[in-house]
């Protein structure tokens, strides 16, 4: 077993690439952890698509308000300077290119930046897309945080997504437990290896050609 990055370390690494003052939308799962690792001296403002800019951390039991939740339907708090708005305004922020960074989990990412994170396409699956397709088309930079492979060892970074796409050619950077991987015109390229991980291991576990760090 390799060392690599933990879930928290992946989130912390992703946070390093978000500029000060950015408006950020965090997907459900590991992406949510990004908010715990804002680098010293920076501030991010969190958007949640159900109508809130300036989302704060989870509430204590006393703070909890049943009408104050995020897009993952978890109860949240607000920071001073927050604003509420309706869904059309909220998705204007997304589709209109006003959100700087979106950090998403995924099922698959392809070497051309295609992402598939909403449906397995299984015949008996109930389709549920939420705001995923709006986010990947509208937000300026799409980051993905994901384990490098599935629980059964299949690569999640692939030549071509086998699952139905959420959006084509939208992902710019991927943060896995093994490496930071860029989507470039030449396909995947490792930008950084996790501690104790060598390029060969990353190459083996990637389902598409991948270039070593420059």
């Amino acid at each position: 077993m390799s060392a690599g990055w933990t879930r928290e370390q992946m989130a912390a690494r992703a946070a390093q690439d978000i500029p000060d003052g950015a408006y950020v939308n965090l997907g459900i799962g590991i992406p949510e952890l990004v908010a715990q690792f804002v680098p010293e001296g920076r501030e991010f403002i969190y958007h949640t698509e159900n109508g809130l800019l300036g989302m704060g951390p989870q509430p204590t039991e006393e703070e909890r308000d049943l009408d104050l939740m995020n897009a993952g339907k978890k109860h949240v708090t607000i920071i001073p300077g927050a604003a509420y708005f309706h869904h059309a305004d909220s998705f204007s922020m997304i589709r209109g290119g006003h959100i700087d960074v979106c950090v998403l989990g995924t099922m698959q990412v392809a070497a051309n930046g295609d992402i598939a994170n909403w449906s397995t396409g299984a015949p008996d699956a109930i389709p549920a897309v939420g705001g995923a397709m709006d986010l990947v088309q509208g937000v300026k930079r799409i980051f993905v945080i994901t384990q490098h492979t599935t629980k059964t060892g299949d690569p999640k970074l692939v030549e071509k997504c086998s699952y139905p796409l959420t959006g084509p050619g939208v992902v710019s950077r991927i943060f896995t437990d093994l490496a930071v991987v860029d989507v470039t015109e030449d396909g995947f390229r490792v930008a950084e290896l996790a501690p104790g991980i060598n390029f060969e291991e990353v190459r083996e576990k990637t389902g598409a050609p991948i270039l070593p760090p420059k």
Binding site: L66, L68, H87, R95, I126, P127, A128, M133, D134, L165
Partner: protein
């Protein structure tokens, strides 16, 4: 003097006919008009097409309406949730149809209906199965999908404060789709926690102007869906 107040939730939904298209405000449990939904269950209209972001939770509110067999079609962005079992079962049994619409497109289609815009272009769903069969057109070298407005016969809305002219404010993220749905329905029915006289809401703070609202019912102690579910309740 104009006064849009109705005496009860029962009266406010009494003329919703079978086969109506009904928008229901709320995102998950937040903003869900439980009392109006339960009145609609009591009323019994069937073959409804319901527009909501989700499909309800537990066995109350929207989930109960679906579970009661009154809904023939759902239009929503996310029909799954950890506490939503009613819809998946009926859907798999072929008893309720589903039109899946991305959340931002759903919001914009509803707004478009209220704004008199029959169609618009969005980048959302380009290159995906959800764009199949839809017109794709390039603007400035980028492809966009054409989407049409989405109207309803009725909207069922929960708000925080309403005045007798139908001006509304909401509570926190319970606002979500509700102001849009008020615009897009022929008849908008609102349950409000507090009903005030005209002038009771600062004109600068009105979120939904009264022109978009037809009926207001005061429900001073609205039950929150989360509370009903935590108590394991079902309806009827």
């Amino acid at each position: 003097m104009i006064n849009k107040q109705y005496a009860s939730v029962a009266e406010a939904v009494a003329d919703i006919p079978d086969g109506a298209t009904v928008m229901v405000g709320g995102f998950g449990a937040s903003g869900s008009p439980i009392e109006l939904l339960h009145a609609l269950i009591d009323h019994g209209a069937t073959d409804l097409t319901v527009i909501n972001n989700n499909t309800g939770n537990g066995e109350v509110g929207l989930a109960a309406l679906i579970g009661n067999g009154q809904v023939s079609k759902m239009i929503c962005s996310f029909p799954r949730s950890s506490q939503s079992k009613v819809f998946p079962e009926l859907y798999r049994a072929g008893k309720v149809a589903l039109e899946i619409v991305p959340q931002g497109t759903l919001a914009e289609r509803i707004r478009a209906a209220g704004a008199g815009v029959p169609a618009f272009y969005t980048p959302t769903t380009v290159g995906t199965v959800l764009a199949e069969g839809k017109e794709v057109r390039e603007f400035n070298g980028r492809p966009y999908v054409m989407e049409s407005w989405l109207k309803a016969d009725f909207a069922l809305i929960k708000c925080e404060v309403a005045d007798s002219l139908g001006n509304l404010t909401y509570n926190k993220t319970a606002r979500n789709f509700s102001p849009l749905m008020c615009m897009a329905a022929t008849t908008t029915v609102v349950q409000t926690k507090t009903l005030v006289d005209r002038g009771g809401i600062d004109p600068e703070h009105v979120v939904t102007p009264g022109i978009f609202v037809n009926r207001v019912v005061e429900v001073t102690q609205p039950i929150h869906e989360d509370v009903l579910i935590a108590e394991g309740r079902s309806y009827p």
